[in-house]
């Protein structure tokens, strides 16, 4: 007797883990975005015109860059801390630096996307 142990997606996402947990969630979303990106990319290389059009779509590019870049930069932070366990003590500082780098890199990337889309 007793309630099932299963944790629903909403219960998991509702856990108040703060900033570090947010990066964990965004990392999963970013990983999924990269999977979609590579699928579309490979299909476009195979000559599917609809996929080639999607690759050139600024909304698609914005979505991929926003989440894909976060995945890459967060992954770099995780790798650095994994290789230097002593630094894990400063994980909050590392996450703050990560966000600063992300805003700069993603900001520049999105500027280029928007300029190409609307700059004429």
């Amino acid at each position: 007797m007793g309630l099932n142990r299963n944790v629903s997606l909403s219960a998991g996402l509702g856990y108040k883990g703060g900033g570090p947990y947010l990066t964990y969630i965004l990392h999963r979303i970013g990983g999924s975005a990269l999977f979609i990106f590579f699928t579309v990319y490979i299909l476009s290389l195979l000559g599917l015109e609809s996929m080639q059009a999607l690759m050139g779509n600024w909304i698609f590019q914005t979505f991929m860059l926003t989440f894909g870049l976060f995945h890459a930069i967060n992954g770099l932070r995780i790798s650095i801390l994994d290789l230097s366990p002593k630094l894990i003590e400063h994980y909050r500082t590392a996450i703050t630096i990560e966000w600063m780098v992300y805003v700069l890199v993603a900001g520049f990337a999105l500027f280029v996307v928007f300029r190409n889309a609307f700059g004429g």
Binding site: M1, G2, L3, Y15, K16, P20, Y24, Y91
Partner: protein
Amino acid sequence: MEVTVKIFRYSPEKDERGHYETYTVEAHENERILDVLELVKGHKDGSLAFRRSCAHGVCGSDAMRINGRNMLACKTLVRDVGANITVEPLLGLKVEKDLIVDMDPFFDNYRKMLPYLINESPLPADGKERLQSPEQRARFDETTKCILCAACTTSCPSFWASEEYYGPAALMAAHRFVFDSRDEGASQRLQILSETNGTVRCHTAYNCTNACPRDIHITQAIGELKMAMVTGNLE
């Protein structure tokens, strides 16, 4: 002050699924959430079930989700969480009644870490004790503080996904002995940790570190275990 506390309720005899009930009690802002639960149980609804023992943050009995985050009810004050409080059982363990969860899977994982000193060597010449320098003792001091409250393990997304994952608390037990200079079972434990349900399932969400009522740097200790598995260095 008037405190409104919303509590998850589940009775296996009556309910198919859990529900929430809201109670209003008078409590001082310096009172603990455990005191608020005692007020509800004593004055509002005697059927409310929750674990408690020492009530001073040592036994680890009263870990629960308070306003969406794992905490010890006896170490959390009303002023820390405000006048509107939601109390729920720990995630990832079967709920037996109200705030009481089945801790068996948690302790099963703990026992898999061989949480005791392994040393088959003969005692020193004086036959008394195996000596250790303060530096050697300090190496694993952090993880001796664990009180097995399960706040860390039940805040871990990997454990939510599968209770087969040993979880942060079990890994802390392993860390405590792996880095003990008197212990000779490190390779045995590192072998266990290298299995599918070992350290590889830690994805550094840091929920465990944030939830620990003893402020143990859990993710860092798991990182040290990962590094020891790769390098074999136990310094």
